[in-house]
């Protein structure tokens, strides 16, 4: 019960932030900052340092000795606060960044661009199904117009430039319409969460309190 009460009071305190920033929410903010910082350090220590480095190396040194190398290079981050040797901390960062930039290219190309093109490049006419043909035309048109909104270069051909101007306008309005739809759905999702939280407050906590007050016990 004490635990529930603490959780409920913290919930109320954090909630008060949306009305006005106050001393309670300020206190919670600082408390949570400390807790989550500590949590982050402990988690990094346990999940990464112990689990991925210390335990493998100490239990089976012959197979995992190579892990010492990245750990030592990673330790160059400790040079960060010192102006003169700061560039050393860029080395582990460069390694991570380089590897992941390289690995990302093919994945982005195939799973974003090629897949989207594959979905869009469809016959604009489906025999005997006007509705479907219309849908395909709409999708195709939408992709072309919106993509042209993201075209930044100035076009020198006057006819093309005029066309681009129109497709850009269609594109931005189209984008807004689709954002509207997402917005509407997100309202539903977020409201569901709030309702869940309020149900906790009104039923779990206040309900329990009432039960205790009326002698119902824990």
């Amino acid at each position: 019960m004490l635990t529930t009460t603490i959780a409920a009071l913290l919930t109320l305190g954090a909630m008060s932030l949306v009305w006005k920033e106050n001393i309670v929410s300020r206190f919670i903010e600082h408390l949570i900052l400390g807790i989550s910082l500590g949590y982050g350090v402990v988690l990094t220590y346990r999940q990464i340092f112990l689990r991925l480095f210390w335990v493998p190396v100490t239990t089976d040194f012959a197979a995992n000795w190579i892990l010492i190398l990245p750990t030592l290079i990673g330790a160059l981050w400790l040079a960060q606060p010192f102006q003169k040797v700061r560039w050393l901390s860029l080395i582990p960062l460069a390694m991570v960044l380089g590897a992941f930039s390289g690995l990302g290219l093919e994945r982005i190309m195939s799973s974003y661009i090629i897949e989207a093109l594959e979905g869009t490049v469809k016959s604009l006419y489906v025999a005997g199904d006007l509705q479907k043909s219309f849908d395909h035309v709409v999708i195709w048109l939408g992709v072309v117009c919106i993509l042209s909104y993201f075209y930044f270069r100035r076009i020198h051909n006057p006819a093309l430039e005029k066309a681009h101007e129109y497709t850009r306008i269609v594109g931005i309005w189209w984008l807004m319409a689709s954002f509207g739809v997402s917005f509407g759905f997100t309202v539903m999702a977020r409201a569901a969460l709030l309702i869940y939280r309020i149900q906790f407050l009104t039923q779990d906590w206040i309900g329990e309190l009432i039960k205790i007050a009326s002698g119902g016990g824990m």
Binding site: G38, L90, S101, I108, Y112, L193
Partner: protein, 213 residues
């Protein structure tokens, strides 16, 4: 010279790993696995200087050496310090269920973060109130479609004449117009991501190194 070492590393590793994605042999798979097993070890140490900076920043408040020091700020910074070290010491000792670390995480951290998450409704309401004005041409269309979806999502359209057409229209738009928009955005984003990745590999984009280009 000093700047060239990281730039060189990014370039070499970037090129190697691009090529590795196009090679399907056991050793190339091993190399890819190597990257994902090394990455956490390469980056874990960064939490030490990062946490140090935060502690130093709040330490300045604690000792009233910051911009406009007040007693309240100092006390609050003290709260942060106490919470941090309690968490650190108890967590290094044990993070099992029932430990102080676990208790604080479950009963202080989780309720507050999930409350923050649920507060989004309030922020959405005030954003809608402020932003959805016909005066802002673009957002007015956003508003119209948001209203359409919000009405159909709660069944209010059943009380409106021709309400079922609203529903059918919103379903149709979700299947076509909305799909087109998402696809086009994704293509655009993908081109941007590819270009930025290539800029990083070839040392054209250097903001990650601190300086400009």
């Amino acid at each position: 010279m000093q700047r060239n070492i990281p730039l060189f590393l990014v370039f070499i590793l970037g090129i190697i790993y691009v090529l590795l994605t196009f090679i399907e042999t056991s050793w190339s798979e091993g190399a890819v696995r190597l990257a994902s097993s090394w990455a956490p070890l390469l980056s874990m140490w960064a939490i030490v200087p990062a946490t140090y900076v935060t502690l130093a920043s709040y330490g300045r408040r604690l000792t009233k050496r910051d911009r406009n020091p007040t007693t309240q700020k100092a006390i609050l910074a003290g709260v942060t310090y106490v919470a941090f070290f309690t968490m650190l010491i108890s967590g290094l000792k044990s993070n099992a269920e029932g430990s102080l670390f676990d208790w604080m995480f479950r009963n202080i951290q989780i309720p507050v973060t999930s409350t923050m998450f649920s507060l989004l409704t309030f922020y959405i309401a005030s954003a809608a109130y402020r932003a959805f004005r016909v005066s802002r041409a673009h957002t007015s269309l956003l508003m119209v479609f948001a209203v359409l979806v919000m009405v159909t999502n709660t069944g209010m359209h059943t009380y409106i004449p021709f309400g079922q057409y609203w529903n059918e229209f919103s379903t149709w738009f979700l299947m076509t117009g909305n799909v087109a928009a998402k696809r086009a955005i994704l293509i655009g984003v993908a081109v941007g991501m590819l270009a930025t990745n290539i800029r990083i590999i070839f040392g054209i984009e250097r903001s990650w190194m601190g300086g400009g280009a």
